[in-house]
């Protein structure tokens, strides 16, 4: 008898817990369960991976595991990969925040500057994550890929 009462109570409690999300309307902003931010995540991972690889290559080159030529070739290859990812991340985020076309041009200019490595000559800030220098208007740290705060 006691066991049946206990079991029925437990079932009722659990049943309420399971049914509640179905009957109580969720706040629209709470509906995170279906958000597909997969592309952005993939790109961020790709960017992080490229940066980590470059760091590792630098260290391997310093330790004398790979030759100077191999290092330069591989580094360039991963730099391009990182820059491409950064560009796409920025595009995705720009779409998200619905910014104007002017800003997109800005990104274009900055990424090409990054590509040609000219940013060093402009006014600089420091990355809070790794301490490297970055161009004042850069959005990402060129050394570790961390996001930079807007001045």
């Amino acid at each position: 008898m006691v066991e049946h009462v206990v079991v029925i109570f437990l079932i009722l409690g659990a049943g309420y817990f399971v049914v509640r999300p179905l009957v109580i309307p969720r706040r629209p902003d709470d509906d995170s369960s279906l958000k597909g931010d997969d592309r952005l995540k993939q790109l961020t991972l790709k960017k992080d991976r490229a940066y980590a690889t470059i760091k590792e290559l630098e260290f391997d080159a310093n330790m004398g595991k790979i030759s100077k030529e191999d290092f330069e070739t591989l580094k360039r290859q991963y730099m391009f990969e990182a820059v491409d990812s950064l560009k796409e991340i920025d595009e995705l985020e720009t779409v998200k925040t619905k910014t104007t076309g002017l800003e997109e041009k800005n990104i274009e200019r900055k990424t090409s500057a990054l590509r040609q490595n000219k940013s060093a000559k402009k006014p600089q800030v420091f990355c809070v994550e790794c301490g490297s220098r970055a161009a004042l208007r850069a959005r990402f740290c060129p050394s570790c890929g961390a996001k930079l705060a807007k001045p």
Partner: protein, 676 residues
Amino acid sequence: MEIEKDEPECLGGRRQIVMNEIGYYSLIIALLFSVYSGLTSVFGIKGKRGEVIASAENAAMCVFFFLTAASVALIYALVTRDFQVEYVWKYTSRSLPMSYTVAAFYGGQKGSLLFWAWILSIFSLIVILQNRKKNRDLLPYVNAVLMGTTFFFVILMVFEANPFEMLRHVPPDGRGLNPMLQNPGMIFHPPTIFLGYVGFTVPFAFSLAALITGHLGDVWIRTTRRWTIVSWAFLTAGNLLGMEWAYVELGWGGYWAWDPVENASFLPWLVGTAYLHSVMIQEKRNMLKIWNLVLILLTFLLTIFGTFITRSGLIASVHSFGQSSLGWMFLIFLAIVLAVSLILLTYRLPDLRSENHLDSFLSRESSFLYNNLLLVGIAFAVLWGPLFPMLSEAFRGVKITVGPPFFNGVIIPIALALLLLTGLCPLIAWRRTSVKKFFKKAFFPCILSVTGAVFLYLSGIGPSYAFVSFVLSIFVLTTFFLEFFDGTRTQRTLSGEGYLKSLWTLVAKNKRRYGGYIIHLGVVMAFVSFAGNHFNTEKQITLTKGESFKIEEYTIRFDALSNYPTANKKRSVIATLTVFDEDRRVATLFPEKSIYHGQDQPTSEVAIHSTLEEDLYVILAGHKKDMVTLKVLVNPLVAWLWIGGVVMGLGTVIVMFPNRRRQKKIKQRDLGVEKI
């Protein structure tokens, strides 16, 4: 112990029945919730309805709640010694110490199924809580797979192996736990191995979810990286604890006999280890996607297979519990998992083609690939062990067991190749290494290994597998040392810090790599210990009181023989032996032969004097008045296996240590500090 026959006992009895009923009902409710949760999470994601998915996740939490209730009910029955419950009667007795009484929870077949399901439900809960705000596209499918597996284990209990089954009468005492299981190993080995087994279900669930959704990038791999390494560490620890237990308890002088049950838990370890290595190539280079999926699928199937072998009673050993119909249900489950995974894999095959290719055969990727082939090669050889007796019985009606000579002959050479690869791998950089660079790096380790080989040869160790193992170990240790040394030096040049600080920064900066080296250092220690087996010596001798005899450099004197009952044992015969190491008294050993309550056969308790160099292992084989027959073994280097295990654990902790910078970042993000 007296049984109280007054009113409190009756009340206690009533309470016990209530708890038992609650336990069984909890199983049924958990079964229903697991079905509901699995199905609704799939419907929810198909119909893009967040509220349905939320309900499914809540149902998964209820599965956890009810399986916890069932586990508590079973532990309650054990602790209150409710012998009317068949399971309690079968595996405990009034004289059984409390720690083993609680451990009997997973000591028998039915309880261990409940334990499996319960751990899985805990893991499911953690997965849901971890992924409340991420991987939302994968999670419904992950949940469905986890619930499907839980469903399988619970349905086994509800219909075939109910741990709450009642006897018609109340027996005055239980049959007691198998004496061999009454060892501290019982408290640690089963839970660790189960945590390892069950843990691999999580990466498997994520891999299936990736296949179903088509999100085949490395998100699922990165999400489950920690699950994989922790499960692997538990499986490693579980296996080592099992070996230690067999060594001190079973009393045949060794820790590994290529027993089908040992093989059954070695298999998922091998394939899991291969997976652990090959996922790194997918993370770094986005390659080997199909291979990784196949490996994790195989690992999961092998954990189920391992549970099946140890828990179905197909193979006679300390692990099995007599024939039962569970075997077929396990086979059906394995077949379903295999079919579903293969169909999904074939369906996604076009999307799984690699974007990258191997740059060079002399690159770390390639060496990881060779490592994988060797590990899977060993796994195939080992799989033959448990399968062959079953196949021969099925087709010819005769059980033929494949013995240690087969395993040693096939597996030792492959394992040594693996050891060599462990040493070569750090010399090679990712992507490509020029042959010249490689030889330059390998020069010093080679010189040292050759010197070591000459030294070993001169000290009388002739050419054998053990010799090769020692030489390769020197090679691997040298490359590891150089890796740390060069790394520290480079770090010092870059940062200008002192050596110790540089070493610290080096390891902290790349915990995975250097923690990995430490884990492999443990592996090398294990190899050295395995090689020690080659030099085991064994003697059997009968001594009268006061007599002594010599084995290697030890002299053993038989001093006394005592014979008395204890609370737990009907009779316990203990010999007192004094051990001298070249005239210096080093230890007093007490090998024992006891008969436990409820048992007829005597059980031997071995006595071990362990040093870093070797173990003196003494078994009391027989006794008469003032006379003992002893079996004495000297097993060199055994202690290094256990030390290696601890080192592997330490390495795992370093690998797992959270990144302070990342932690800070996550914290900032959670607090909304990071403003861009």
